[in-house]
Symmetry: C2
Subunit: 207 residues, 2 copies
DNA sequence: TCAAGACATGAGCCACTGCTCATGACAGAG
DNA sequence: CTCTGTCATGAGCAGTGGCTCATGTCTTGA
């Protein structure tokens, strides 16, 4: 029988979709154009995905899972709190370089025009990081790496805020130019940024 | 002659627009509905604004100017670095309560689907804060309130990142529920959040 | 070799919405 | 009261893009 879309072809389709959604947003991205650009017909997209929203969701899920995987790997490394933080920061830089569109899509969810289900999906992933970060900080607190009168979840929240905006500042247009506005050429020096943020976080953690 | 739209009416129109754009995004917000909801005709919107994008821009400018005014007022207060920070944090809370949609619009610009000009506008406003924060920190550094081997612009950048995400965490749906996910009921206790963030920033500033 | 099933194709349908413009209401001048 | 210029009105036009389905192609089994 006529060949079904191979899973590589579907991955290519998702990748094209992610780029389109990242560049133009959910509404302005054109399904017909996505189909053309990935060399399949419009119709077949509607065979594999219920509708435009369903396709968007599949793209989002793909992006978030890759992102989450990288973060998890960095976080599960052995070592002190600050060693792990360093791994995280470098993982964030790597993701930004390798999959800039993934972060852009994530930022898009944040802003609103996407479906409630998209938010829930992002929320679930975010929830996992939230618990992981809180646990790591709680643990560091128990080991005396940070001072003991601190509210661990809130510390984790501030910490994640810094990381999240670093992610966006590497990948999303608006945040990128904002980063440049603040820091000039230094913004492009990954190594320097990592060191500066490390000392900032180290101080904030209280030791 | 027939009455022109009063400036109050135009303000009401902008306000309705801001709510619509905040709730549904630039693309999904419906000009006809906005006209209906503010009790004017579609046609008159196109008399006062060039097109949908021009109207969006006017709404955005309105929101950003109010926001910027509040920040400026807080920043120009007398006192030590941390006193000013406290004023800032409280101003952010107040804005979030009084004009939640303003912050949502700002976040929207960040995410992408809006025009290049919208970004530029937001960028200009952001640039002003950037210079102000950097100056305040530079000044505090000169006075010895923070340690002297620090990169002032980058410190200002991290600082603004924390403030920006606090703004969004007060006003934007996704960030609000993320805040709740991290901190539970504590997220709703404004006073507590301000204190926690104050000590976090104080430590990060290195003294 | 051929019938039948499985599948991709893409032209075109139609719902949606930004925007225009013909119309008429109103106010002031004479 | 009438004429004229100003302005809001909203029905409808037109462009866009999501989605469908009639059609054609390929493969398999007998």
């Amino acid at each position: 029988m006529r060949k079904k879309l191979t899973s590589e072809k579907i991955n290519e389709l998702l990748e094209t979709g992610i780029d389109a959604f990242a560049q133009r947003g959910l509404d302005r991205a054109n399904i017909n154009a996505i189909a053309r650009d990935s060399g399949v017909s419009v119709g077949v997209i509607y065979k594999y995905f219920t509708d435009k929203d369903g396709f968007f969701l599949a793209c989002l899920r793909h992006a978030l899972e890759v992102l989450k995987g990288e973060i998890d790997a960095a976080l599960s490394a052995e070592g002190s709190l600050m060693t792990r933080v360093e791994h995280l920061l470098r993982a964030i830089g790597r993701c930004a370089r390798e999959h800039p569109s993934y972060n852009v899509m994530y930022n898009e969810i944040t802003a609103g025009a996407s479906s409630a289900y998209a938010r829930q999906l992002a929320g679930e992933i975010e929830g996992i990081s939230a618990r992981a970060y809180t646990a790591v900080i709680e643990e560091a607190k128990a080991r005396g790496e940070i001072h003991s009168d601190v509210d661990a979840p809130m510390l984790a929240f501030f910490f994640d805020n810094l990381l999240l905006l670093l992610q966006f500042s590497y990948s999303c247009d608006y945040y990128r130019s904002r980063f440049g506005e603040y820091c000039g050429a230094a913004a492009a020096d990954d190594e320097y940024v990592v060191r500066q943020l490390m000392t900032f976080i180290q101080s904030a953690f209280g030791r």
